[in-house]
């Protein structure tokens, strides 16, 4: 007898708007979930533990060129120079000031400056691919970087990640903590990517995609993308 193993096939599940912004944490098409996602029901915490203040980061957490990934080395990195900016808001739409935003990404060829990345695409000696900043008084962040390339991964046959920038954010509360990925509009790889599609509500999925922003585009210098981020503090209903 053979047992059907749902993890052997790349599966893009159909849309499900009832999930809203929740990511489906046991999404079977993303194989790494299999042995890592907790299987038992989650325990609950009293309300005050959802309202704990979180850590506060100051300017001392930053280096001078941390928000410009194109100027961290002697030369300029190869690739399409871009500016990525937006606002960090809480669920009520209020700006989160002084929020630490950390990003990391592949270079223009789709290669990370990381020893585990074996993709045979060139490293760029002028690109580390990491940045950080604090949001300003209006909750704004801004990075100058290069547009990352798509890259292959071992999830299934001929699997490629759509180009993305990883984001990590700290809000005001301990529970206002978000790690996510920003994607670029119109990527032809969206429909094949189980990580992107693990957000099964199509409208929520769109919240992961930046908007091309001609108004912020700097003539003769860099294209601009705008991406606002909303931090959740309330617990998932289980």
């Amino acid at each position: 007898m053979t047992v059907q193993d749902p993890y052997n096939d790349p599966v893009i599940l159909g849309d499900d708007a009832t999930l809203g912004p929740e990511v489906q944490v046991d999404y079977p098409g993303y194989r790494s979930t299999r042995w890592r996602v907790p299987k038992r029901p989650l325990a609950t915490l009293p309300e005050e533990l959802h309202r704990l203040d979180g850590p506060v980061f100051g300017e001392d957490a930053l280096g001078p060129l941390d928000n410009d990934l194109t100027r961290q080395h002697e030369g300029e990195p190869l690739g399409e120079r871009i500016r990525v900016s937006g606002r960090v808001l809480d669920e009520d739409g209020r700006p989160l000031r002084g929020a630490l935003v950390e990003i990391w990404q592949a270079n223009a060829a789709g290669r990370y400056q990381h020893e585990v990345d074996r993709h045979p695409a060139p490293l760029d000696p002028n690109f580390s691919g990491a940045g950080r900043c604090l949001t300003d008084g209006e909750g704004r962040y801004s990075f100058t970087t290069i547009r990352p390339g798509a890259y292959p991964w071992g999830n299934h046959d001929n699997a490629w990640r759509p180009a993305h920038i990883h984001f990590s954010l700290f809000g005001r509360l301990f529970t206002e903590r978000l790690v996510t990925q920003m994607y670029f509009p119109g990527d032809p790889l969206f429909q094949y990517d189980p990580i992107f599609n693990s957000v099964r509500d199509p409208r929520s999925r769109e919240l992961l995609v930046a908007r091309f922003d001609l108004a912020q585009t700097q003539p003769e210098w860099a294209l601009a993308f705008a991406w606002d981020i909303v931090m959740r503090a309330t617990p998932v209903e289980t």
Binding site: V23, S32, W35, R36, P55, E91, V179, V199
Partner: protein, 146 residues
């Protein structure tokens, strides 16, 4: 209410962005708290990140896991209980747990299944404390909705 931005996995290459500088000493004179992050086959998770928060002392720390799945902090022994998040490739959203440095005497501890709450208690290990995090299995760590 504005719709929150969905979560996505930290991925396997987070260390270039999140671990550029060490952030694991909440109390440089404190006790070592270390442990292994393990998957459902008891294999080490080599690409995980553990973040802890001593809410009383307002001290925060972060440790990536090494080739053995091990994370390491230095914390105040008096801290009692630490809040913790776990991130890893394969986790589309981070998980929340708590690390009790000594037997729990709070409301959360009292409400937990006595057969499982021991997974939240750090064990004496030489001069330090040991706290393994098991994502799945019979001895899976208790995780909390968040």
């Amino acid at each position: 209410m504005t719709t929150p931005t969905p979560s996505q996995t930290v991925g396997p290459f987070y260390s270039i962005g999140l671990c550029r500088r060490p952030n694991d000493e909440l109390d440089p004179d404190g006790v070592e708290l270390s442990g292994r992050l393990l998957d459902g086959r008891d294999e080490p998770i080599r690409d995980g990140v553990v973040e802890i928060w001593d809410a009383t002392r307002r001290k925060w720390g972060r440790s990536g896991t090494d080739g053995d799945g091990r994370f390491r902090f230095r914390v105040a022994r008096e801290a009692g209980v630490l809040e913790a998040f776990v991130f890893a490739r394969g986790l589309l959203r981070h998980e929340r747990t708590r690390i009790y440095l000594r037997d729990g005497d709070d409301e959360v501890w009292a409400a937990l299944d006595p057969a499982r709450r021991g997974t939240l208690l750090a064990q004496a290990d030489g001069d330090g404390l040991r706290f393994d995090i098991r994502m799945q299995g019979d001895h899976a760590t208790v995780f909390f909705a968040h």
